[in-house]
């Protein structure tokens, strides 16, 4: 025992075979049941996430948050859903009807589909696709498409500005994200996410490749479009960005999709770098693995929320500079160093390999901090220098913040 999911699946399969169905049909039926089970479970977690979000943001802002409906306000999200369901659905004048109605579905469906490859436990996994990491990247691009469609079809200038910003942001941050995704693939020698979790047996990859983990985490937050990278829906500038014209349940789909996307990305980072379902006793009792997985995923989810409610929004040129001139070169350097060292340390004992990798990463961090410090010193000096009083003809003085 300890693995009720496999047990129920076996029982159901035998039951269906006992009814005289052919094995092919049983396979297809079992797949449909499995997909429906994962999707419904994830959607239920999503409803809980609404409560988590509201409660945590309340605590960050020194409020109580929902506390009226049920114990600790736990029934509040269900009331929210009912409210959204009975709201009037408004389609703005001039909206492109088909393109306008598709994005809410895409926003949630692409995030749901990510759960097909995320392993909850050694045996409880949708499918250990052998191109799992590429599948995740591909679906991320699909989610971006939904946002662009929403902004374009709404016939609203704010929405269009939000969509434009999304293009620049998502397209840029995809690069360091993919490069840093390559590091665990390289270390494990496989693209299947469950196989990568299996490969993290002596230590988690966050010990072997902390810089790659950090880059992936930062660029994942940017991919999510969460603060400090929430330029796509900057409330104080462009009202709500791409989903400004969506009401009722359509807005609810975007909201649910965003919350679920954050948890999904947390689960992905947890699987790739924090050992996923790994923990004491997880191999013997797979159901424990689910607990470990969600502990790690919710820890990262909470970290994302902490960042979201602590940092101000950054400007678009700063955001793009940070990506192209800092994250991307750093990610490429980390990839090169990891590749070479992994080959050089191949014959070494396990502990020496781990210590060597960790030291290399610490050296990279130290060098990066030194370079940044020097640059900041030069920048401060240049800003502090008293320039000519009226010198608009000198561009190097007037545009100090590049």
């Amino acid at each position: 025992m300890g693995d009720p999911v496999t047990f129920i699946a076996q029982w159901l399969e035998n039951l269906l075979l006992g009814w005289g169905l052919s094995p092919q049909w049983v396979t297809i039926l079992m797949t449909i049941i499995g997909v429906a089970a994962i999707a419904i479970f994830v959607l239920l977690v999503d409803i809980l996430l609404v409560w988590v979000e509201r409660k945590v943001v309340a605590r960050f802002q020194d409020r109580l948050g929902p506390n009226r409906l049920g114990p600790f306000g736990l029934i509040q999200p269900i009331a929210d859903v009912i409210k959204l369901l009975i709201k009037e659905d408004i389609t703005p004048i001039g909206a492109d009807r088909i393109v306008y109605n598709l994005p809410p579905i895409i926003a949630l469906a692409t995030v749901l589909m990510l759960w097909a490859v995320i392993p909850l436990a050694p045996t409880i996994v949708g499918t250990d696709l052998d191109v799992g990491v590429l599948y995740v990247v591909a679906l991320g691009a699909f989610g971006t498409l939904g946002i662009i469609m929403a902004g374009w079809a709404s016939n609203n200038k704010y929405a269009l500005i939000g969509a434009f910003r999304t293009v620049a942001q998502m397209v840029s941050y995809e690069v360091p994200m993919v490069i840093s995704l390559m590091v665990p693939v390289l270390l494990a020698g496989t693209m299947g996410i469950n196989s990568i979790v299996f490969a993290q047996s002596p230590v988690w990859y966050v010990v072997v490749a902390p810089v790659a983990a950090l880059i992936l985490f930062i660029s994942a937050i940017a991919e999510l479009g969460r603060a400090p990278f929430d330029l796509a829906e900057a409330e104080s500038e462009i009202v709500a960005g791409f989903h400004i014209e969506y009401t009722g349940m359509k807005f609810g789909m975007f909201y649910a999709g965003e919350l679920l996307h954050a948890l999904t990305i947390s689960g992905l980072v947890a699987s790739l770098f924090l050992g996923g379902w790994r923990g004491p006793g997880a191999e013997a009792y797979p159901i424990l693995g689910v607990v470990y997985f969600f502990m790690k995923a919710f820890f990262l989810y909470w970290a994302i929320m902490w960042i979201k409610y602590s940092l101000p929004r950054i400007r678009i040129d700063h955001m793009l500079n940070f990506n192209w001139k800092f994250l991307t070169p750093l990610a490429l350097i980390v990839l090169i160093v990891t590749a070479i060292l992994d080959k050089l340390f191949a014959g070494f004992p396990e502990w020496l390999y781990v210590v060597g990798m960790l030291l290399a990463n610490l050296v990279i961090i130290w060098l990066t901090v030194q370079i940044l410090r020097n640059r900041a010193k030069v920048e401060r000096k240049r800003v502090a220098e008293p320039g000519p009083i009226a010198a608009p003809q000198n561009p190097s003085v007037s545009s100090t913040s590049s």
């Binding site: 009037e88 926003a107 589909m113 499918t127 052998d130 269009l160 995809e174 693939v185 991307t328």
Partner: protein
């Protein structure tokens, strides 16, 4: 192997059904009283001026081009990363050289000013 893709295929069909169903329920129970004023584009109460679907700046295309170079080359790097354990040091160095060409491309774009937001 085939069962993996069967799973993905079934998921591809079922995943849009859940949000689509959630969008269909309001059609049945929500009120529907559209009026020209209510359906106006929301721009903080001010009436819309001009066309929304305008041409946008070329800057976005430049970023998209730089992205395209990287993304295509990174897809080529994934098989290298998967087969890494079996590769000799020579093949690893070739991969590193490939990444170096990528870095050179990035610095070219940087020096050309393609990464400056104007």
């Amino acid at each position: 192997m085939l069962n993996d893709w069967l799973f993905i295929g079934v998921f591809l069909i079922l995943a849009p059904i859940f949000p689509a169903a959630a969008l269909l329920i309001p059609r049945l129970i929500a009120p529907r009283k559209p009026s020209p004023l209510k359906n106006q584009t929301y721009e903080c109460g001010i009436e819309t001026v001009g066309d929304t679907w305008v041409q946008f700046r070329v800057q976005y295309y430049i970023y998209a081009l730089v992205f395209l170079i990287f993304d295509v080359e990174l897809v080529f790097l994934f098989p290298w990363a998967v087969a890494f354990d079996q590769l000799p040091l020579f093949a690893v160095m070739e991969g590193v050289l490939f990444i170096m060409i990528l870095v050179a491309g990035l610095f070219y774009a940087w020096r050309k000013g393609a990464l400056e937001w104007m």
